[in-house]
Structures are given as structure tokens and as C-alpha cells.
């Protein structure tokens, strides 16, 4: 167990090292950082002074280690555009993104797994066929198109739900939540559906495929031959074996949700980190881009680590060696 986790941790550290190197190189490749800091009419002396202050003339390794040191203290410097510490910006906007991702993950996992099991068990029923065709359409619909359509129908046409933004925000300590007010829920519904739809269909199809795969195995046939009830076969034997690979999907799912939150947040003007990132890319606001990259990588590394550990717990073949 310890060596397994140590190995995974080592791998995670490697990932973070590579990602931090990439984000470090952003600063050096994408534009001259000095240009982004001084006014247009700064003199040469001023520029040199800033270069010196920032240590831009130090050896590259020194700069990198300083960068890593700063990251470890969650210090990414000031945003070029809004002149505020990037870590504050991320911390402020993180709750919005995490809550959106959380709600979407619940929606996509719950419906994805339930419908996936249904279509896996009743694979020839009409219900399954309809769900499957719809799910293919779901995979084919770009997130932003779904978002626009939902806004048009539910916000503008029917006026049931707000079209954009995050309403009903309440502060709980440093965490700003919108999940304890009705207004908050009203404003999260459309973005969460938009964000979860693609992942939902993906999970549905994966669970179904996995279920069908498991249903063909010998141990299911053997369980039948022992006269076990369909219920026991479907839920005790098939489902558990289906869910082992699904754990990986959960990891990927959350990753995908974080990624597509960039799109959803843009469409719904959801004030999270994704919207901030896309604005930063538009303005080539390197500190935010770099920080977001490191942050997202860290998030995924943590998710993957948790998934690996879950795998370890769930699957005796890994846990006990084979």
C-alpha cells in the first residue's frame, strides 16, 4: 500500500514538475514580461531596473527554482491586467467553479450511471434505444450550443431561470456559496445542465458498454448456472465489476467538467476560474494563465491520486497482489 501510494506520489510530483516548467516557460516565451509591467514610455534605465528587480538576468535554473519556490507559497505574482495577486483571484473564483463542477458531477454521475445500467440490463427495450440515440445526439452537441439554446428557451423565452451570472451568493467564512439559497440554485441549474450533458452521455455509454462486457463474462454465466436471481446477478456481480472501471471514468469526468467549465462559464458569464482563464488568454495575461495551468494540473493530480487509491480499495486484485 505504502509503496503503491509512494509510486503514485512520485509520478504526481513528476507531472507537477513538468507542468510548472511549462508554465514557467510561458513567462519567458510569451512576450517580454517587462513590457507588460511598465508604461509605454518607460525609459531604458527603468526597464533595466525592473529586469534587475525581477531577476530576469539570473541563470534560467535560478529563475526556475525561484518560480517553483513561489508556487509552493502560492505566489504567482500580479495579474498583468487587473494588477491583483493571482492567488487571491483564483481563491476568490474557485468556489464558483467548484460548486458548478460539483453539481454537474452529481448530475452526470447519477443519471449517467443509472441510465447506463438501465440500458445495459434492458438492452433491447424501446426505452434503451431512445436513451441511446438521444445520448449520441448529446455527444454530438457542442457545449456552447446547448448553453445558448437553454438560455434562449428557459431564460429569454419562458423567463423561468436567470440567463447568466451567479445569484444568491452567501459568504460562509471565506467560501462564497450559492448552494444554500433558492436564487443560487436557480442560477446554477442551466449552467450545470449544460456542463453535465456531455459528460452524462459519455458516462452513460461507457457504463453501458462496460455492463455489456461484464454480462458476457464467464463468471456471470456461472452465476446464472448456479441459479442466482437476476437481481443478484445484475447488482451484486455485474454492477460491482462494472463500477471498477467506472471509477476511472469519475476521475476523467471531473477533469472533463473542469475543462469544459471554461466554455460553460463563458456562455453563462459564470464568475469562476474558467471565465477568468479565457479572459486571461484573450489578454495574454500570463500570470493568470500560468497559475491556472498549475492549479488545474494540481487538481487533476489530486483527483487521479484519489482515483488510484479508490481503485486500490475496491479491487482486491491490486490490493492483494496477484
Amino acid at each position: 500500500m505504502i509503496s503503491f501510494i509512494a509510486k503514485r506520489l512520485a509520478q504526481s510530483v513528476l507531472v507537477m514538475a513538468i507542468v510548472s516548467a511549462v508554465s514557467f516557460s510561458l513567462f519567458n516565451f510569451v512576450g517580454d514580461p517587462v513590457n507588460n509591467m511598465v508604461g509605454q514610455d518607460a525609459t531604458r534605465e527603468q526597464r533595466l531596473e525592473i529586469r534587475d528587480k525581477l531577476g530576469l538576468d539570473d541563470p534560467i535554473l535560478t529563475q526556475y527554482s525561484r518560480f517553483v519556490g513561489n508556487i509552493l507559497q502560492a505566489d504567482f505574482g500580479l495579474s498583468y491586467r487587473i494588477k491583483r495577486p493571482v492567488d487571491d483571484l483564483i481563491a476568490e473564483r474557485l468556489p464558483a467553479t467548484l460548486e458548478l463542477v460539483f453539481v454537474s458531477a452529481i448530475i452526470s454521475l447519477f443519471f449517467g450511471i443509472v441510465l447506463g445500467i438501465y440500458t445495459g440490463i434492458k438492452r433491447n427495450s424501446w426505452g434503451s434505444r431512445i436513451i441511446l440515440s438521444t445520448s449520441l445526439a448529446g455527444v454530438s452537441l457542442p457545449t456552447f450550443v446547448i448553453g445558448i439554446a437553454l438560455i434562449y428557451v428557459f431564460a429569454v423565452h419562458l423567463r423561468w431561470l436567470p440567463s447568466s451570472g451567479r445569484g444568491g451568493v452567501v459568504e460562509l467564512g471565506w467560501w462564497k456559496t450559492s448552494l444554500i439559497t433558492l436564487e443560487g440554485w436557480r442560477s446554477i441549474i442551466l449552467p450545470a445542465i449544460t456542463l453535465s450533458l456531455f459528460q452524462l452521455t459519455l458516462i452513460l455509454r461507457l457504463v453501458r458498454a462496460e455492463m455489456l462486457e461484464v454480462m458476457r463474462t464467464d463468471y456471470i454465466k456461472f452465476a446464472r448456472a448456479r441459479g442466482l436471481s437476476e437481481r443478484a446477478i445484475n447488482f451484486r456481480h455485474a454492477l460491482r465489476n462494472t463500477l471498477v472501471p467506472v471509477i476511472t471514468i469519475i476521475g476523467l469526468n471531473i477533469g472533463g467538467l473542469v475543462a469544459f467549465s471554461v466554455v460553460t462559464e463563458t456562455v453563462f458569464q459564470w464568475p469562476g476560474t474558467g471565465l477568468m482563464f479565457i479572459q486571461a488568454v484573450n489578454f495574454v495575461d500570463v500570470p493568470i494563465m500560468a497559475a491556472y495551468l498549475v492549479f488545474v494540473a494540481l487538481l487533476f493530480v489530486v483527483i487521479n491520486l484519489i482515483v488510484d487509491i479508490l481503485y486500490f480499495v475496491v479491487d482486491p486484485r491490486i490490493r492483494l497482489g496477484g
Binding site: Q40, I82, K83, R159, E183
Partner: protein
């Protein structure tokens, strides 16, 4: 108000115990949030608009654009400068008194290297505190329009600035965030309650404001939420989430107008949209032509004749524009109906002129265009591309955010660009000194006419109004003949509002919440 607001409020009372009930909350949106709350850091419209709700200036303009007293009750010109008599009994939001010291401090701060306002008040050489409520500002020679130049120069509290170490505007090289970036302490009608940049800014009514009861406004609370996507912004208005959109896309105005409970307000704006052609360099950077075609006035005329301003007005601007051949709007001293009449469209003549100038097959050039600054800016440029294609000029469009576009103009790195120019002083000097003087900081066209340069210098100190006006007219005649720019139109402002809200619209596009009335 709406049910959902009551719900929100009730939840808020549960969690935060806020007593506010039945208050007039104005929720509004626009494309871009203020970059900072530091009043001297950025000279940019959304930033000025945001700060103007909390900070005040000595002199202001009302919706009629006439100068009105604000923190200065009166002012008069002397031989060596201006004297301002300050309003008494004014308090900053933190309770400290407003005095002459604060004015001097704020002006000094605005003159600092890191300030974006240093140009506007560079004529002030020194200041003198006559008494607690009188300030004298010495100028370098006579400056007849100094009060006009102060309408966006906000006054900060010296004590507050000292206590919070914000004596100078944000220094970008500094590692630390400036306190003033997210906090404000002005004398204005609204007090900052909370601010999350690019997300939500909440302001509440300043009960101790000096102007309490003097203005019609009855707004108790302002919630500002920037929405960068135009369609989403309109959707928010259509679905009733906001009461006021400062900059709805023109194409959606009909829909807003037709929706129950919503109205549109329009006004002619003091802002002209035009293309600049760099005639100053010897070789264009982005052209296949030998040398610089724009140096030839025939080419510049052809570029003007190619544009179908009427089509742009009708199709791109939904009728909301005044086609023109001048780069400054009616209302600005110097604009005349004769000069303002649009040039006709004549592609044939344009082709002939190009051939005459030695470009029978046209040439290519890149057009730099902002995509988030003016009404339908990018679409105007796109329309221009096809119009220029008709006369054989291949225009490659590069539409980018304003933050990247404007440096190109300021650094003179562009051959052909779109620019819009408003005139806060309502005087042509503002146009000449920035756009037409050979030293003008925004004269990326490289226009250089000795007589125009001379007039620009002279009118800065000329006090005889009639003489000054004729000088301005003379300069405009020269400019119109030289055609250094391709004027397109004067913008028309349009606001989208809930019918329950009445806010006066003004040519300067400024939101004046103290006049906002909610029914």
C-alpha cells in the same frame, strides 16, 4: 420588487442580518468592468464610470454636458491660473472632512509618473492652498479650458491615502497589490459595499452625501455585474435580471424595444469613428506596395470614396449612426454642418484616383481593428474590407481586443487602423492636440501640416473667443482638404432599460446614478 429578490433578501437576513427591505436596487451591466478603483491609474471609460459613483471631481458635466460645480462651488480664471472655491461641509465616506489639502494631494497624485492623467493637467505648474476651501492653480501660460480638463479628475482623501499607503497610483513593478485597487473612499453619492472584479460590485447610498435631496435620484443600492458577451448581456435584460444595459448591441435594440417592460434610449454621442492611414512613414509595414501609398492625397481620397457610409449605417449600425466626413462630432466647437456632410460613395472615381496615383491594381494593407471598444467595431471593419475590395485594395483585417489594439496606435506600429475619438472638453483643441498635431500622442496617421501645428499651439492660449473660433475653422479647412483620416460616422448611443427605471442619457455615455429614478 420581484419575488426572487425578496427570497434572496430573506436568505440574506437569515445569514447576514441585513435590514434592507423595500429598497430601490438598480442592477445594471456593461461589457467591461473597471480595471481598478484607483482613480488615477487608468484613463478608461468603464473605470471612470465606476469610480464616478464613489469619487467626485471639482467640476462636472450634467446630462446636458454643460459644466456644473461639484466639489468646487465656483471657479474663476486669473492672469496666471485658476482659483477654485471648494464646497464646504463635504465629508468623505470614512467621515473625514474634504479640504483644499485633499485637492492638492489628489492633483499631485494625478501628476505622478504612474498616473494616466498626467497629460490632462500638465499645464498646472503649481498649486497654492489659499485657505481650507480655496485652491489656486498656477498654469504654464493661460489655459482657457482648464475646468473642462478636470471633469474626470477625482479627489481622494489625503489622510486615507497616507493611512493605507496609496500615495501614488499602482506601480506595476511592485509585487504588492495597491490598497486603492479594491477599496475606495470618495465623497460621492454611493459607498462601496463589496467588490469582486469582473464579477459583482455593490454600492449603497451615501446617506451623508452633501447632495442629498438636491438630485432626483432615488436609488438605494447599485449592483453592477459586467457581462462581456453581448448576447448574454441582452439576455439578462430580456429575462429581467438587470434593469439597465449600458451597451446593448445595436441589432438587439428592436427586440428590446418590442419587449414589454423594456425601453431603449438613444442619444447622439460625442464620438466619431474613423480609420487612420499612416502617411508619416516612408514604407508601409503591411503592404505589398512600393513606398507608402498613403502619402498621396489621391490615394487618401480614394480610400474615402470607397466607403459606403449609408450602407454601414443601415445594415451594420441598424440606422444608429450619423455618417460624416469629419472626425469630430456636432456639439464640439469646430464642427460645422458643411464639413460634417458625408463624402459620397464613388468606387469608379476611387479607382481612377488610385490609377492616377500609380496604383492601377490597388495594393494590400492590414487594417487593425478593435473588437470590444466601439459599437460594432469589428463589423464595420469587415464591411470596409469588402468595400475596399471593390476598388482593388486588399485589406487584411486583424480584429483584437482594445487592450492590444490601442498600444499599436500609441506606439505607431500600425499602417491602417480604426479609432474612435470623443471630446470631453467639447473643444477642437482636444482633437488637434491628440490627433492632428504632428506631436500628438495619438496621431498615428503621422499627419504633419505646419499651419495646423501652429494653430494647435496658438489656440491653447488664445483667450479671444472669436479669433480662436476662426483659427479653429481655418485648421479644419486644411485638414478636410488633406484627408488624413477616413471618417465613418458619429456614434449614436443606445441604452436598454427596464421601463421602471429612468436614467438620463447623455452624449458622453456616462451613467449618472444620482439622476436615476426607479418607479
Amino acid at each position: 420588487m420581484h419575488v426572487k429578490h425578496l427570497l434572496t433578501a430573506s436568505v440574506l437576513t437569515l445569514s447576514a442580518a441585513s435590514p434592507a427591505f423595500a429598497e430601490n436596487v438598480l442592477r445594471w451591466t456593461s461589457q467591461g468592468d473597471a480595471l481598478t478603483l484607483d482613480p488615477h491609474s487608468q484613463n478608461e471609460a468603464p473605470t471612470i464610470a465606476m469610480n464616478g459613483q464613489m469619487y467626485e471631481t471639482l467640476v462636472t458635466r450634467d446630462a446636458d454636458l454643460v459644466l456644473h460645480p461639484e466639489l468646487a462651488e465656483s471657479w474663476e480664471a486669473g492672469a496666471d491660473g485658476w482659483t477654485f472655491n471648494l464646497r464646504k461641509g463635504v465629508k468623505f465616506h470614512d467621515g473625514s472632512d474634504f479640504t483644499a489639502e485633499d485637492v492638492v494631494f489628489s492633483f499631485e497624485r494625478a501628476k505622478h509618473e504612474a498616473s494616466d492623467y498626467k497629460e490632462q493637467i500638465k499645464s498646472i505648474t503649481s498649486m497654492e492652498i489659499v485657505d481650507d476651501h480655496t485652491v489656486k492653480m498656477m498654469t504654464d501660460g493661460v489655459n482657457p479650458i482648464l475646468p473642462n480638463q478636470l471633469t474626470s479628475l477625482y479627489i481622494m482623501d489625503k489622510g486615507w491615502a497616507e493611512a493605507n499607503d496609496v500615495l501614488v497610483p499602482q506601480d506595476y513593478a511592485a509585487k504588492e497589490e495597491n490598497f486603492a485597487v479594491r477599496n475606495a473612499n470618495g465623497t460621492g453619492p454611493f459607498v462601496l459595499e463589496s467588490r469582486a472584479p469582473d464579477e459583482m460590485t455593490v454600492l449603497t447610498r451615501n446617506a451623508d452625501w452633501w447632495g442629498e435631496g438636491m438630485f432626483p435620484g432615488n436609488v438605494d443600492k447599485i449592483e453592477y455585474r459586467p457581462i462581456s458577451n453581448a448576447a448574454t448581456r441582452v439576455a439578462a435584460l430580456l429575462s429581467g435580471e438587470v434593469d439597465f444595459v449600458l451597451d446593448p448591441p445595436l441589432q438587439d435594440l428592436k427586440r428590446i424595444e418590442a419587449t414589454d417592460g423594456l425601453t431603449v434610449k438613444t442619444a447622439a454621442q460625442i464620438r466619431s469613428i474613423f480609420f487612420g492611414m499612416d502617411q508619416g512613414v516612408d514604407k508601409l509595414r503591411t503592404s505589398d506596395a512600393e513606398g507608402n501609398p498613403f502619402k498621396d492625397v489621391r490615394v487618401r481620397e480614394a480610400m474615402n470614396l470607397a466607403i459606403d457610409r449609408e450602407a454601414i449605417k443601415r445594415v451594420v449600425m441598424e440606422g444608429l449612426a450619423f455618417p460624416t466626413s469629419m472626425i469630430t462630432s456636432p456639439g464640439v466647437l469646430g464642427n460645422t454642418p458643411e464639413n460634417d456632410a458625408p463624402v459620397g460613395t464613388d468606387p469608379e472615381r476611387a479607382k481612377a484616383l488610385l490609377a492616377e496615383a500609380g496604383y492601377p491594381d490597388g495594393f494590400s494593407v492590414r487594417l487593425d481593428c478593435p473588437n470590444d471598444r466601439y459599437n460594432n467595431d469589428e463589423k464595420i471593419c469587415q464591411a470596409a474590407v469588402s468595400m475596399y475590395a471593390r476598388i482593388g485594395v486588399t485589406v487584411n483585417l486583424d480584429a483584437i481586443p482594445k487592450s492590444q489594439h490601442f498600444p499599436k496606435i500609441q506606439n505607431r506600429e500600425t499602417d491602417f487602423y480604426m479609432l474612435g475619438w470623443g471630446v470631453p472638453t467639447l473643444d477642437s483643441h482636444y482633437v488637434f492636440s491628440y490627433l492632428l498635431d504632428s506631436e500628438g500622442s495619438w496621431n498615428a496617421a503621422g499627419y504633419n501640416n505646419a499651419r495646423v501645428n501652429e494653430i494647435t499651439t496658438d489656440i491653447a492660449t488664445e483667450i479671444d473667443a472669436a479669433k480662436r473660433t476662426s483659427m479653429i475653422e481655418e485648421a479644419w479647412t486644411l485638414v478636410q482638404a488633406d484627408m488624413p483620416y477616413v471618417p465613418i460616422h458619429h456614434q449614436v448611443l443606445a441604452w436598454g432599460l427596464a421601463a421602471s427605471v429612468d436614467i438620463p442619457i447623455a452624449a458622453d455615455d456616462a451613467f449618472r446614478p444620482r439622476f436615476a429614478v426607479m418607479k
